[in-house]
């Protein structure tokens, strides 16, 4: 009896293994402009990472004793995670507010968010001097519970898990695991609620990391409200990324997207730009309140003050008005323009807090080395490669298999 059952099972396993191996092979053309640019950079980045682990962090970075966190933290982690905020906002809209018209972008957004966490928070390992000890706060070789970083580290880990659960039905559908798909789909709402809670705390937590650097950050960017500002800005940072990524994926992977979803996408973009307008307004208003209360008027007429005004007017107020105008006038191109300006603004803001405004008065300024930039680009390109690999295989943009449709 046992034999007769186990034989087909193992055969099924074998075929699944074969299927998996087959899926590993590249699909599509190899000589695209994206591949030609990204492959050399990824290889160069890999070489630099080897040097970094061989000779120490100082061998490829320009970090100093005064500026211990540079591009890898300020851009890869702090900015990258803000851009990954789209996942918690979109799942909030779809699963909590039951705005079902946004359902078609949930999977791709969650995938994007998950990969962003894996890669940009993963890039943190490159920046850790002693990465083999990274498990210490997890296994309790010192629970530094008074540390904001302790909270952020745990939240990164748990949130990756929550996003993996949110995304897992797509993996189950890909592998044809029907039972697993049903179970995993049933866990979605819990994962979403958990994920939104975690996101609220660690998006703001990334700002709270800098609270103790009170004297080191330029006063125009330091306030006790950094956590709230970081949280609110993660809403439009994430959604702008969703708009930006969506307009690219809809071009590159247009063959995978059903006619219906293509048509719906413009409606989705309009809806998102409406949310962005609101979030940007709330953020701008908060920034004005913080500024007025801090009584920093004198700083406005300094070079850093002009830079601050550029950020607030050019990268917050302007995209807010553009989003408002474009959703009122149904101008899809302008929505995309506004999302790009918003994203630039988020980069500017995060770098102002973490790099540009950090030790802004130091005699020797930290400027990232070309090697730090190459490694950062290599990380981003690798993420896009994985993203493309998944999109080409899993039902992310394309319709789920028919058997899975009545499951959710």
């Amino acid at each position: 009896m046992n034999n007769t059952i186990s034989v087909p099972l193992s055969e099924e396993k074998k075929s699944r293994w074969k299927f998996f191996l087959g899926e590993l092979k590249p699909k599509g053309k190899m000589f695209t402009w994206f591949n030609v640019i990204s492959i050399p950079i990824m290889l160069l980045g890999l070489g630099l990472i080897v040097i970094r682990f061989w000779k120490g962090i100082g061998s490829i970075t320009n970090l100093t004793q005064e500026v211990p966190w540079g591009l890898w933290i300020g851009f890869d982690v702090v900015t990258g995670v803000a851009f990954a905020g789209g996942a918690y906002v979109v799942t909030f809209m779809v699963y909590i507010l039951n705005m079902k018209s946004y359902r078609s972008i949930v999977r791709v957004t969650v995938l994007n968010g998950f990969l962003a966490y894996v890669f940009y928070a993963g890039a943190l390992l490159l920046d850790l001097g002693r990465p083999w000890n990274v498990i210490n706060p997890i296994i309790g070789n010192g629970f530094g519970t008074s540390s904001v970083l302790f909270l952020v580290a745990w939240h990164f880990l748990l949130y990756m898990l929550a996003e993996l659960i949110e995304f897992s039905p797509a993996i189950a559908e890909w592998l044809g695991a029907k039972r697993a798909c049903k179970i995993l789909s049933g866990m979605t709402l819990a994962a979403v609620i958990f994920g939104i809670t975690l996101s609220t705390l660690h998006q703001s937590g990334l700002g709270a990391l800098y609270l103790m650097a009170k004297e080191k950050i330029h006063t125009l960017w330091y306030s006790e409200f950094i956590p709230i500002l970081f949280f609110v800005s993660s809403i439009f940072a994430g959604l702008s990324m969703v708009i930006f990524e969506g307009s690219i994926t809809h071009k590159v992977f247009s063959d995978q997207i059903s006619e219906k979803n293509h048509e719906q996408h413009h409606k989705i973009l309009r809806g998102l730009s409406k949310v962005c307008t609101g979030a940007l307004f709330a953020y701008f208003f908060l920034q004005v309140l913080v500024f007025v209360h801090s009584k920093n008027w004198d700083y406005l007429s300094t070079p850093m003050g002009y830079w601050y005004l550029t950020e607030m007017l050019g990268f917050v107020l302007l995209p807010m008005l553009l989003f408002y105008y474009s959703y009122r006038n149904n101008n899809i191109t302008l929505i995309k323009v506004a999302s790009v300006i918003t994203m630039l603004g988020v980069i500017v803001n995060r770098l102002n807090v973490t790099v540009i405004g950090f030790r802004w008065d130091a005699a020797v300024h930290y400027v990232p080395s070309w090697m730090e930039i190459v490694v950062t680009m290599a990380v981003i390109f690798t993420e896009i490669w994985i993203f493309r690999w998944v999109i080409n295989r899993l039902p992310v943009l394309r319709e789920s298999p028919s058997w899975a449709k009545n499951m959710h």
Binding site: K55, I96, S147, L149, I196
Partner: protein, 276 residues
């Protein structure tokens, strides 16, 4: 043994304390820059005690030497309103240190004896302690594949053996004094009140950053000898308390609220929109 040793060390200048109290009080060092002659003996003995290279430069007026991964203390010379004044710098050993609160593995640790120490087996090298320290004390070995965070540990290992910190023991000018923090503050006050012409009326470290275990006396205002006098009086970890206290509240209230909203918006959408 340790207790009697410590009492003996301080001996002459301070009244003896009940033994049990001494154990729980923070140890501290008082540095009196009016007595410092800039001889660098502290630098040399520190290097010897921690197997670090000997210093090759010396205090020069107008040059600010900094501690780094290979030296944990430096003596600098400042041109002040009363002429040349020497100042020794090293970790301040805050009562409630920013580095300790920042450390997510408790590698940076405020011992109950007072010194702030770094523990190699716990540290992951994230350098958040360096970001947080208002005095820029922790240093990092950027050029090592197995880097350490380095800083003055008030010779914690020597203290455990009942010995004095190396710099205190070897200081020929008696500019350094070791004892409990309370005793040293009393001693510093006594010096100021007995010689008001010699001292500037302030003990740097008594209240700065919530109080430190390295205390300074100076003949001139502290901004003249390179100190940040604008530093906040409250401890630095207090800056993140508000955020950390909000965490449990969000953790409990958010899921409840989200579930409530989810329930309230359920089925309100007409079924026709959901084809799938």
């Amino acid at each position: 043994m340790g207790v009697t040793g410590a009492t003996f060390v301080f001996g002459k200048e301070a009244p003896a304390r009940p033994a049990n109290e001494e154990v729980t009080e923070f140890k501290a060092i008082l540095y009196d820059s009016t007595k410092c002659i800039g001889c660098q003996t502290c630098e040399f003995s520190c290097a010897e005690a921690h197997n670090l290279p000997e210093p090759e430069d010396f205090p020069e007026m107008g040059v600010v030497r900094k501690t780094d991964e290979n030296r944990r203390t430096v003596v600098n010379s400042y041109d002040t309103s009363i002429g040349e004044v020497y100042v020794k710098r090293q970790c301040m050993h805050c009562n409630d240190p920013a580095c300790g609160a920042a450390c997510l593995t408790q590698a940076m640790h405020k011992t109950k004896e007072g010194p702030v120490i770094w523990r190699e087996d716990k540290c992951m090298g994230c350098r958040y302690c360096m970001v947080s320290c208002p005095f820029d004390v922790p240093k990092f070995e950027y050029d090592s594949p197995n880097p350490k965070i380095t800083k003055c540990n008030m010779c914690f290992e020597r203290q455990e053996e009942g010995k004095l910190p190396a710099c205190v023991e070897n200081c020929p000018g008696e500019a350094l004094l070791f004892g409990t923090r309370r005793e040293l503050i009393a001693e510093a006050r006594r010096r100021i009140s007995e010689n008001p012409d010699v001292y500037y009326d302030h003990i740097y470290g008594e209240t700065e950053a919530g109080g430190t275990s390295f205390l300074y006396l100076s003949p001139v205002p502290f901004e003249e000898i390179g100190f940040n006098t604008g530093i906040q009086k409250a401890s630095y970890p207090s800056l993140t308390k508000g955020f950390l206290y909000s965490v449990p509240a969000v953790f409990v209230l958010w899921p409840m609220m989200l579930l409530g909203i989810q329930d309230a918006t359920k089925d309100k959408q007409p079924k026709t929109e959901d084809h799938e």
